[in-house]
Symmetry: C2
Subunit: 788 residues, 2 copies
Amino acid sequence: MTNTPLSMQETEVLNAYWRACNYLAAGMIYLRDNPLLKEPLKPEHIKQRLLGHWGASPGLSFTYIHLNRLINRYDLNAIFLAGPGHGAPGVLAPVYLEGTYSEIYPNKSEDEEGLLNFFKEFSFPGGIGSHCTPETPGSIHEGGELGYSISHAFGAAYDNPDLLVAVVVGDGESETAPLATSWHSNKFLNPIRDGAVLPILHLNGYKINNPTLLSRISHEELESLFKGYGWQPFFVEGSDPMEMHGKMADAMEACVLEIRRIQQEARGSGKAVRPRWPMIVLRSPKGWTGPREVDGHKVEGFWRSHQVPLSGVRENPAHLAQLEAWLRGYRPEELFDANGSLLPELKALAPQGQRRMSANLHANGGRLRKALCMPDFRNYRIEVTKPGTTSAENTRPLGKFLRDIMQENMQNFRVFGPDENTSNKLDDIYQVSKKTWLADYLPEDADGGQLAVDGRVMEMLSEHTLEGWLEGYLLTGRHGFFSTYEAFVHVIDSMFNQHAKWLEMSKAVAWRAPISSLNLLITSTVWRQDHNGFTHQDPGFLDVVVNKSPAVTRIYLPPDVNTLLAISDHCLQSTDYINVIVCDKQKHLQFLDMDAAIKHCTKGIGIWEWASNDNGVEPDLVMACAGDIPTKEALAATVMLREHFPDLKVRFVNVVDLYKLTPAAEHPHGLSDNDFDSLFTLDKPILFNFHGYPWLIHRLAYRRNNHKNLHVRGYKEKGSINTPLELAIQNEIDRFSLVIDAIDRVPSLKVAGAHVKEKMRDMQIECRNYAYEYGADLPAADSWVWPY
Amino acid sequence: MTNTPLSMQETEVLNAYWRACNYLAAGMIYLRDNPLLKEPLKPEHIKQRLLGHWGASPGLSFTYIHLNRLINRYDLNAIFLAGPGHGAPGVLAPVYLEGTYSEIYPNKSEDEEGLLNFFKEFSFPGGIGSHCTPETPGSIHEGGELGYSISHAFGAAYDNPDLLVAVVVGDGESETAPLATSWHSNKFLNPIRDGAVLPILHLNGYKINNPTLLSRISHEELESLFKGYGWQPFFVEGSDPMEMHGKMADAMEACVLEIRRIQQEARGSGKAVRPRWPMIVLRSPKGWTGPREVDGHKVEGFWRSHQVPLSGVRENPAHLAQLEAWLRGYRPEELFDANGSLLPELKALAPQGQRRMSANLHANGGRLRKALCMPDFRNYRIEVTKPGTTSAENTRPLGKFLRDIMQENMQNFRVFGPDENTSNKLDDIYQVSKKTWLADYLPEDADGGQLAVDGRVMEMLSEHTLEGWLEGYLLTGRHGFFSTYEAFVHVIDSMFNQHAKWLEMSKAVAWRAPISSLNLLITSTVWRQDHNGFTHQDPGFLDVVVNKSPAVTRIYLPPDVNTLLAISDHCLQSTDYINVIVCDKQKHLQFLDMDAAIKHCTKGIGIWEWASNDNGVEPDLVMACAGDIPTKEALAATVMLREHFPDLKVRFVNVVDLYKLTPAAEHPHGLSDNDFDSLFTLDKPILFNFHGYPWLIHRLAYRRNNHKNLHVRGYKEKGSINTPLELAIQNEIDRFSLVIDAIDRVPSLKVAGAHVKEKMRDMQIECRNYAYEYGADLPAADSWVWPY
């Protein structure tokens, strides 16, 4: 196959279509009336508040319509991601012109009235967003926060061998950290099994007020950079539209043919090697075809065209005239008929039906989503004949469960982790699928390297890239599981925020089908970072999570193996949530057999009767906890309390589902006040031993009746090189501190408990002394088990 | 100048020094006794818990001692940053050998006893951290969380023309997003004014369990990548130590000479252009010189050497023997005298005094810090003759203030922002210093581009890189100011966490002098992101901040121009804090003249008597607020309440210093309970209109006496394309919602207020209808001023 150059006539028609796009993009920013310019432009036709981003728009639609041409020519199955999503007019325009917008939103019909609504409502209260929001047909990438377009694109391409993911990357976005490393995603794409990603780096030269870095280095450096990243760049450079159509058609067809050649070669030979995938560098003027100069300042091809190139149009007749000339320059009367519909010969350029990028089901992934085939999680249980007496690595059985899920779902399930799946004890998964790796191999990799070109475990030391891949994978209808270090999950706080916002908005978009939840296992938790020290201790991600909508956020702290299995099974089958699961990977005490675990997880919170001695009457103290290590310490404290104060009635409450603490009106999982009161009493002291920062519990429970008696312990930013128990002591979540807390808070213990408090303090000193002497915990404390 | 090849004798001595480093690094991981191997190694000499990272250590000390050689030869002023800071043994060893460690920590003396303590305490409770923590002499970069080594290095080099910042970048770290974009920092370094950064990319091939990307691409791609980034890579590849010493000495000297040539050329000509700065790619085996094989598995040169290459040494005699052979292979008896001191001929290799990288004052920046010359901030005040009646852009006078600070401090002050200093209305600063730019220029840049090779305003669309530069700049004793978009400051949550931890730890290190605070202005705030929509609305950074130590965190919400000036003046002169200032850039009501602003900011919280009508008696309602827009809305609500209910006594409280709400025991700024009670009463309803997520106020104030009557309004994740007022209404921080809240909460208003509530709801509907019709706020609401 070779390129077919664009004929003059084809160029003219294509350019007319592009003029229509640009006319629409400008119209969306400016017009509230007179959408076809049937009468002279007057101030009252102009919106009062001019909002939107013109600068990136022409280049976006230029790319979009050139893709359309090749979709038609090669029957491509393609979707479109706009990195600079704030140039939404450049995407919305072709989406409207190909009819999808009107099909979904009937009041934006393909006529003058629909066009008017389309213009008026853009970037207008209650209207159309100024980015490629979830309301945008064909979008899986809003492009509000920058940096994730390439990783989203790769996530979409994985396991979609027939899909072409075209992604426009802004040169502003290219300066961001997440984008800069995501170019390396090509080492994780298998040309046999996966689809293709075609990046179009859009060098329009400027951000809001500055030139961009990549537009201001030499051609040689730029080419060298992308070759170094492993790409083959095709350059399309210029400003004359007719010339540029020819160049773009050539380059894009060359890319499509090269992609097909690569895929055919790999698929024909069955041999997957990393090729040099093609990409396009499109160097075109910012605000292309817009006003060249305004008030003596260069605008087209400069940062002054970033947002609204002509301001004050209602008040400034010269600007109004310039706007009118600009808009009329697109000759709308040659593009739309008298009713405001695009002329048939132009309409014919767009692909049909689901070949339209705006109607491709991959961009409404819930429509393609198939439920996971799930083995029975109960089969991975460990036996717990007596609570709190045996130990196990909490995550290892989960690894076996994930392995078998993988086995059953080798087309639509992947597991993600930044170089940590082995460290996180999930390595049984490699028995059925190894780590995807299309970079070079060495002989020693055979010794436990677990690398394979067709692996389904995604490992790269970039939380950003992993999260981006996973989001792209889920948004296109598949399933995934991501485990990461607790302290460093903050690296993706911002991505979590954006994905939560996307999910919440999507729920309100009727035509979007639910997608699989994003499942995030946080492990290597703070309480076992005693040896890595202070930099590795940060359980604060949960504080970020709870700021996002209750409609999409879930937090679980399973305390042991069986609860972790039950929770994971639930999360993997859910949709439209971000499920955050916190559970440490090390060996820990086991509390519940599988039946008890299922019951406990179903309720999300409950009294552990085997650990309580209130026997159904009002207790003197509620000992509550959430998280594996805090639970163990709370249990050990309970035993000491009962030993020292045999008459004391302690109720032991464990929380798996953190949102149970929230009032029912605030979160769908929240307990009613009655239920909360019946667990936590109306007036008895509550000690709450928490995995994270203690004030999070107050933030959730401050409205509860017995909040005044709620005393929370958690991590309070005290740590360096410690032993686990010494770290607990420093932050007062240890058993001894809890006993002291109880004595301070239960009135009947105040006097009698004085000597016990002394003893507890002595014990703490003994533990610390032992730690400082031997670098380890007192064996008796380390191997503590539930004695009753 | 040309290279001087390493003589055989020089190589021997250098290698002996390196053997000493490696011996120490291994000793730190394993030994608790017998530090000089004077007797056969026994299990009881071995630590119980083997912790630390061997893998990166030999390469780190290899680089360190080659730098030492050139420091001596060329009298270099150099510091050393270890990207893979978890290879701390490879840094601590040469730091100890050059005597600094013993000078600072006398019990780690340069003899057998000191050596024993040095070994025993490494990665041991209460002892020496396993990263390059603040306790490490010469460190400004802990390397716990990965990704920031290059940006820290550039920050250190700016405005230090004589400094060479050598930075080892791990190939694992290279996969992270922040590191990947930070290579572009070379477009922001001026060879005349700034020092040099010499990156040593350490390709040791592996992370914990995986190969690294950059070690598994072709030489051609690797070289192309770094040339594309604008560097000139020198390759040092191999595994034979003696050969590698020669290669490294050659490459490093070539780099130093090239750096000198570049600097001399630029400084001689006075013409600053971007050169192709040299860098080194060091490809050496992971765990170099360690065990080749353990139990039949390859270890040296493989990921199995990442942490502790030989485990179970106390229990496994074969491993013990292998350890002993490994350690004795360094021939410690030829390196140390009988007392355990390094032999004089080796000691002579290290630089002297402050030329030692571990004793270079630049790495203890507080020692070099000079206070800023500060113009009087009062000179930038705006006149406020009557509170709440005039408007101004809150940040513009701050821009003038920063401009004049810049003018007075052209050697040690820089301003940072991701392409937003103009957008953030701080552009007056360009009058004295433009944006640093050493990439290409175009003629149109003359029209408002504000670029200059000697600019001191740092703009790049990477919050990560900016934050890293700023941290490096502050850590080496200078001053800075960073402004950024509120929603996207979450991008650097993790960096904030790490810097806060560094500062807190540093305060406990007696020899570290205080450094300038990190001043972060958060602007383009949530309440004015009505047009950018939901993705741009996130005031949650404060929730991350409050998790960090009260010793280092400060949060201010100045409501207007004069308070912002007063707060900024204070912050810029402070040390060892992270000051977070939240203030929007748009035009807002002005409340306080400069005298009142100073008083208010000094107290941090206070009653605005002009807005209150309780006249010193107990009010019926406390109307509290924090933040510019919430303050305006609270005032407007107060007016309506007073109009409708003339007998109602309202006390108006504004909070500038958010930590005033915290109990005094929890934060040094916290009000005493008495003071809090006297402001907020013991039992009257409090409405608190807050800038951020509402529960943050509860988290700070839940222990206060009147918490049960505290009702907080704030952003609760409701927004899309709105007008400012409509966005406020959606989140119920608007004046009408506050009046309704007051009626619901003040007992005396409940009945009488019913019709007022109706009216408020009607007003909300009217505002929304207007917004939906005109895309703007009701003029009456928009231009509201304080009427009394």
